[in-house]
């Protein structure tokens, strides 16, 4: 579905990603794990078209997409929930969700998807006329994911959905990620520092270090891999 071929990204003179190769197949949950500053978020921003790719190719459903605008990519079905959630603070919960469906005009479909996200996160239905900025961290993460779902994505990019949340909330968020993957058949690319949680729900995983993919394997074998255990799982 999505393929990154030999991607190089640099901010000015500082190169961040060095020849990245990642492949995501339709229906999979793929995770990218790595330490702070390894280039995880940059990878997602490059896929979303926000950060320009210096060289290499990104192919989505057979088409090269690395030169398209973020707007076009959203319209094609690539949606991102960025790190830190980025809720519009003075827009209500409902308006935040409306913004997720910004490029859509099928009001019936939008209504169905609204019902669907409210069934996933009933708390959002209760809070729909409240300002987004007044929600708790967990609720904001739910809202951010729901907003992305309102675009009816084919590929959902999640950047550290567990950041700063209580363990119980994290558990709930990861359950929902699996649910979205199964029920909506949404392909998921999950970037995480919480490697343990991420590998438990993922099909395959990539490890990134200083902008280079060092290991790529099935999630099961990564959990057993001694280097990964030592560096990312704290075992």
């Amino acid at each position: 579905m999505l393929e990154l071929r030999n991607i190089n990204v640099a901010y000015g003179n500082i190169q961040v990603l060095h020849g990245l190769n990642i492949e995501i197949k339709s229906g999979e949950i793929i995770t990218l794990i790595g330490a702070n500053g390894a280039g995880k978020s940059t990878t997602l921003m490059a896929i979303s078209g926000v950060v320009p790719v210096r060289s290499g190719k990104i192919v989505f459903e057979g088409e090269p997409v690395h030169k398209l605008s973020p707007e076009k990519l959203v319209a094609m079905g690539i949606c991102q929930v960025p790190e830190g959630r980025h809720i519009f603070p003075s827009l209500t919960v409902q308006e935040n969700l409306d913004m997720g469906a910004f490029l859509r005009n099928d009001s019936d479909g939008i209504k169905d998807d609204l019902d669907y996200v409210f069934s996933l996160f009933p708390i959002l239905a209760e809070r729909r006329s409240q300002d987004g900025g007044t929600l708790s961290g967990g609720e904001q993460q739910m809202l951010a994911m729901s907003r992305a779902l309102m675009a009816r994505p084919k590929l959902l990019l999640l950047d550290e959905p567990s950041m700063g949340l209580a363990p119980l909330v994290i558990k709930r968020i990861f359950e929902i990620i699996q649910k979205i993957n199964k029920e909506q058949n949404t392909t998921i690319f999950l970037v995480e520092q919480n490697a343990n949680q991420a590998l438990h729900i993922a099909d395959r995983g990539y490890v990134i270090e200083n902008g280079v993919i060092t290991i790529s394997d099935s999630a099961k074998s990564l959990l057993q891999n001694q280097d990964v255990q030592k560096a990312y799982l704290g075992i």
Partner: protein, 300 residues
Amino acid sequence: MDYFIELFFVGLTRGSIYALIALGYTMVYGIIGLINFAHGEIYMIGAFTSFIVATVLSIYGFPLLAIVIVAGLAAAVWSSAYGYTIEKLAYRPLRKAPRLAPLISAIGMSIFLQNYVLLAQTSDFLPFPELIPEFDFMEPVAHIVGSSDLVILIVTTLVMLGLTFLIKFTKIGKAMRATAQDKTMAVLVGINVDRVISATFVIGSALAAIGGLLIASHVGQINFYIGFIAGIKAFTAAVLGGIGSIPGAVLGSLVLGLTESFATGYISSDYEDVFAFSLLVLILIFKPSGLLGKAETQKV
């Protein structure tokens, strides 16, 4: 008491005109963090456009109401075209430059437009046709308030209600608020930020143009320089209310208009500007973020 009411209404009228211009400053600031110093010139161009259209139409003997509507629309469209073009030529190429660069560019645009109108027209004051008619139904209050003051109040109230509706309930309005609050996320949900910024300039310019028509008709004369002082006053009003805040711009404008009116009426018209700008200084000392503005927090 009649005198007080008169001053009050004069102040409200003044304030509502300031508000039409201040809204353009505050909306642009809210979205791209730029003080658009050329905005006063947009207002001046609106006044000139309505002047030209109204003069031509009255030569052909059109009824007054038709003249007002056509002149207003022409001014709004023409000023919007200017606003759109200025943003595209002078600010968009500097979107990623340090904040000072577009600011200087804005001042340059302002000077350019003033001199361009000076050359194209004349430096003399031109008599502006009286476009706002005296309505019979205003007779009971008109002797204290003045018919054109009332018309200005009614028109600006309607325009502001329209703007509130646009910003609160339409798709482009929500996109404008979203872009102002979080540009990165606006891009990620598929909003074309450049288009939203253009729309902001177009709306702000149209409001200023309507203000230009109203006040030119009220005062009765225009020249190429009227945009400068009106722009400074409206900018003051926007800062007073808290720049970036739309209700703040309206409130700040009304406060400024009333202050000027009372200072003129009870003390002396010589001190009108002294009071206006002293108010600004006081607000900046005691509440730098303005009456309704939020203090900007900068992450380090």
